[in-house]
Amino acid sequence: MYTPHTDADREAMLEAIGVDSIDDLFHCLPDRDLPDLALPEGMTEMEALDELQFIASVNESTQELTSFLGAGAYNHYIPAAVDSLLRRGEFYTAYTPYQPEISQGTLQSIFEYQSLIAALTGMDISNASHYDGATAVAEAVNMALNRYRGRRTKCILSPRLHPQARETVHTYMMGSDLQILGEDLDPEGDPEDLISLIDEETALVIVQYPDFFGQIHDYTALGEAAHEAGAMFGVHINPIALGLLKPPSEFGADIVTGEGQPLGIPLSFGGPYLGIFATKKEYVRKMAGRLAGETVDDRGQRGYVLTLSTREQHIRRERATSNICTNQGLMMLASTIFLSLLGKEGLRELALLNYHKAHYAAEQINTIPGYLASPGKSFFNEFVVHCPRPAAEVNQMLLEYDILGGYDLSESYPGMENGLLMAVTEMNPRYEIDYLIDILAEESDA
């Protein structure tokens, strides 16, 4: 299909190689009589498009459904300029910028991304991305363990750190003797509950901000407690919230991780997303992932290169800070463009819009008998609703009205059968919220 050779080309090439047939090139294979693959014949482009259009149409997307699903992936507006730039072949058909002279487009965007993430989080430095928020958390644990070179073997994860991020940490750490604490604390408790778990063996304490329930906490005391015990303090963020909220650096974070999907990346059924990873300059040599640094070329022009590669697998091999190689380049670029478009005011405006809409929705829900939304808690654009019956049932009922109600918390917190986690963004016009309320009210009457 995409192979250009004519028969004459092939003849001439085989002759230059000095073999008689293509088959001769494959003599070294053990099984020369592999039967044909049990796969269909190829399709033309127009047939494939037809097929894939059909498959896509089978899905009910958030364009057809009213969605209040969040729980780590958020339905945000993506300005048209973002994709119009991502579609440039110069960006998406390049690879890791190993050769800086012909990769300044990618390198400058990495440098700008690092700068934007530093500005947003209040941290000194950022790497060029991890696979997603969850793996960024796992890499944070990895980094903390490496920092203490095995001298500290405990890590404390808030029960309100994203459940899938916690699960990912467990998987990544399967081969180590790390002890993971904190997850079975009361999920509806206080952040300070974690303090009692911190000791001299603790390498890292990680919380989420806003937490998995959407709530905003002051982590100052917790951060101090971690530091007092000589441990590192990690904060996992939603970057949109930082348009409004003070940055985690103000709680003394040593590592900031986050899921960058809200920054101009489509939901896409869960990926590709963007793992944000920022830290203090002193840890730069412990950090995993690519890093662009400013320099000059031999003509005196400012330019950028990948730097400190000695941390990385292709140089350091089994002593590398991580095995990561390919990262989330294009998603990083998307978020760089997104943050450039929004800027200072735009991100604040977006955060406020999310905030007000979520609060309106929560307030309205609280008018419905039997429903209780995030009582007495500060939250951002997501909140827990205590329903009068299992969240699964509420979701099922709402789906009949083409509404994705939210995340059924019992899937991650067995005790919370009636807990529904709902997110509201700028993509939910008021009438959608009011529609939801009407239905909840009606059904609660019935």
């Binding site: 085989l14 053990p30 693959l37 482009e45 958030t62 699903l69 058909t93 409004l244 350091r316 500060s378």
Partner: protein, 490 residues
Amino acid sequence: MPEPTIFELSKPNRRGIRYPKPDVPEADLPRDFLRDDLPLPEVSEHEVIRHFTNISQYNHGVDIGFYPLGSCTMKYNPKINEDVARLPGFTSIHPLQPPETVQGALGLMYELQEWLAEVSGFEAVSLQPAAGAHGELTGVLIIRAYHRNRGDEKRTKMLIPDSAHGTNPATSAMSGMEVVELPSDERGNVDLEALKTECDDTLAGIMITNPNTLGLFDENIVEVCQLVHDVGGLVYGDGANMNALLGKCKPALTGIDVMHFNLHKTFSTPHGGGGPGSGPVGVVSELAELLPGPVVVRTEEGDEETPPFYDFHYPEHTIGRVKAFHGHFGMFVRALTYLITLGKDGLRDVAENAVLNANYLRALIKDTYHVPYDRLCMHEFVAEGEWEDAPDIQALDISKRMMDFGFHPPTNYFPLIVHEALMIEPTETETKETLDAVAEAMLQIAEEAHEDPEKLKTAPHKTPFGRLDEVKAAKDLILTTSLPEDYGEA
């Protein structure tokens, strides 16, 4: 003319996008939590477009020209894949939607699992890993779990040939394995004698790349696997080089137990300037229940009237998830589009032409550039970028000079076992004319290396940027920029 940074373009109150006014009453703000300063740049949409359009032109890409970056399979990225991946039915679905609302997506993932399984001979596939190295981590953890579940805690030794990619040892170390390097023999295969001496009851397994990073198919692959299996070890296959084998050889049939695919290499999903990749993992049946979850299963077959039903499934002894959600779905869409476009004959065609192209280019330059291991290669080959009678010249100089001809250089300094390695992977989507032009340029460069070495030392000359000072970058460590101190003060 280098482009200013986006911070340097910033000016107070400029905006690239606006949001609607709230259509709900405004709530009280959490006063204690408000940030006072958000030092992001402020630019207009027009400036953003110009900025990124201009810097993009400083990039080489597959859409611009030849990109023979060895081990990376920089093949053409079909444009239909990009369109299809942007259908709202794919981009606008939430990973936590109930299965009945995303049957298209689940069905697509199921199909992709099936195609990958058939192409490779593995029994089961998990699409979750985000890239090759992530697939390796997944695979090695599966090996670890396999031994552990059998109570075989002492198996922590992982053998890694000296030609392996850096991610292999890094992965093993990250998984708590002890890495033991294996030498290669004079034909570029794994040294069987060395292997035998390491085969004992502490052996967890071996990580092998086949064709290996020299572009050579390990002629003893079956025996290698057998030796490892005989002492109870498992074989991990680094599937980075699968492009050479499509329709020609199923790795599982050679004895490999677990392998990752690189959708961003073999299956044409774009490299994105460094990612996203996608690194699904295939396993033999004994390991199927260890795969990271969820995988997609067909729970109802369907018939003429009712479509089949697909659902997520957590393998019984899963090692757990290796990331949030279900993997790089956007890449699955592209890869499946590619697969169904090619079909069985098209896939074999890929392997045949990839191998043809590599051997052809190798034939054209091998009298000038020494290519160790005098065998036919598979999809790539490694030449030496040095000559005794041109003592100043290193592989990097050749690479930089290639840029002046409009070509991206090969991979440099990898694999480590070849001096001044130039690792060249043309891929199947390049024409003979391009390969002829590349050979011609490389022969000219070899001549220059001897007659006018300065031309190489100071290359590139025709690119918008000259050689960049990497030492300075590592010394200065300028990793961010920011708005100027006096920003906003008139």
